[in-house]
Amino acid sequence: MSQAAISPHPIVGEGRIERAVPPLPHAADALLSDVLDMAGEAIVVLDVRACISAFSRAGEKLFGWPAAEALGQPLAVLLAEEDGMDRQRLEKLGSGVHVVVGRHKAGHSFPLTLELATRQSPAGPHFIAVLRERPAQPVDVERLARLEAENAHLARLVVVEAMGPALAHELSQPLTAAALYLQAAETMLGPQDAAGAMIGKARREAERAGRIIRALRRFVENRPPESVPVVLDLLVDEAIDLALLGRSPRPVIARDGAETGLTVMADPVLVQQIVVNVVRNALDAVEGLTEARLWIATRRVDAQVHLSIRDSGPGFPAAVMADLFAPLQTSKPGGIGLGLVLSRSIAEQLGGSISVEPGGGGMGATVSVVLPLARQASPKAVKRSA
């Protein structure tokens, strides 16, 4: 082939030829083909299906494909398999320079940069790809390892994100059934029965799991959380009890401000999740220390409520601080690294924030959760919610 080839029928739409769009006139065809061939780089013009509709001479050389054979093939034939580049993937990548792995017709692969330009047409986006061979680089083992780790992270995050709603939905039916059966058993045994009382507790726990799932579903679907007036200190006390479950020995907890009765507008389940997360972190920090103490205080600052949780632990090392709010980063054995990330995200959704003072040098860490104070509700609403 001496000239860049251009497909005579620009294909528009899915598997059909749009007659309304006439093929390029011959002169324009020839001109485009000349222009493509003058370029020193492999240039590939793609139709809306991400199939090759024009292929430059440099491309023939780089990939070993004669242009005539390349036309109509998906872009993916030029790339190594793991880069299965279909239209959706291209749309996701969007314009810009991307690093990919190319594949020669003979089978060997080589590193490439893929510069992508997108052009909108009534039938959807068209792509023009400029492909350049990347000079072989000295292998930076550390960088590779880091990239690999980041990749694994990202993959896990995607899984968590995808799993959330499905999991919430799958769990909701059996949980509903379990709570109903427990309620039936509780009624059957009556309030005087010791087993009945225990079943009642089990029912309330199943219902609590249900509320967590509903809150989780709202969270992953990015639905705004429920917003009702919540007495923060009651919630904090409950959260402390929850966080302490199964812990022994228990640290000394100094509680300050519990009488203030500050009310925030928030989703009670979400706020409780935040407090449980932060208190658990603090408990982990002081575990095994002879001087194990927590200071938990709530106070009002202007139109906000500040909840601070300080511990007598060693504080956060600088290395941990840097990644503190990054998802799936954890310094704890067995930790998933979502606690603080979720907590911050929840706090921000509620119009608040979370900040961390690292401590260190004999000082424990302090985590502060800030939430907006409930506006003075109308007298009517107060009466109703009382």
Binding site: H169, L171, S172, Q173, P174, L175, T176, A177, A178, A179, L180, Y181, L182, Q183, A184, T187, M188, R203, R204, A206, E207, A209, G210, I213, R214, E221, R223, P224, E226, S227, P229, M265, A377, S378, K380, A381, K383, R384, S385
Partner: protein, 201 residues
Amino acid sequence: MSQADEIFVVDDDAAVREALTALLTMEGFDVTCFADGNALVTAVRGHVPACVILDVNIPGPSGLDVLKRLKADACPAAVFAMSGQANIPMAVDAIRNGAVDFFEKPFDAGRIVGCVREAIADAGRHPRVTGQLASHFPGMELLTPRERQVLEQIAGGSSNKEAGRALGISPRTVEVHRARIMEKIGARNAANLVRIVLTEQ
């Protein structure tokens, strides 16, 4: 009452059907279960129960379609809708189509019996939900003109996004208005809100 009140339960999940039957039978109701909406609609034409508990996500016609058919037949039963994939427009739709209340699964088992009893006791006494905002509802005078516009959108079944588009504000802002409206009217949730404002007192 000499004869037990009848309840029809529609859910495609056998465990939920059985568990609801166990609980409601224990509470003295006469329970019949259906796995899909068509079976229910046919049964209701035969005779009318005191109450229907209806899952929205069922095979065949959806729970909302079933609700519409019951409404078209002027069925006097108190209908509760429930869903494991609930969202606000779905809840609002259910209330607009005559449901007494909407439960997001997993719901609190402790609440359902009380709700059912109350609805059966109230049946026929309360005026039905209409298609438009009532001429008066509690908290009405506390709403700003903007909040009233937002309320009209919500009660009309719009999502936050649709309401935002109609009013030229962001969905987030709609959400803030909704929270304030609920606070002023004293509504428990969106379904409850719509029921309050669409019910002629």
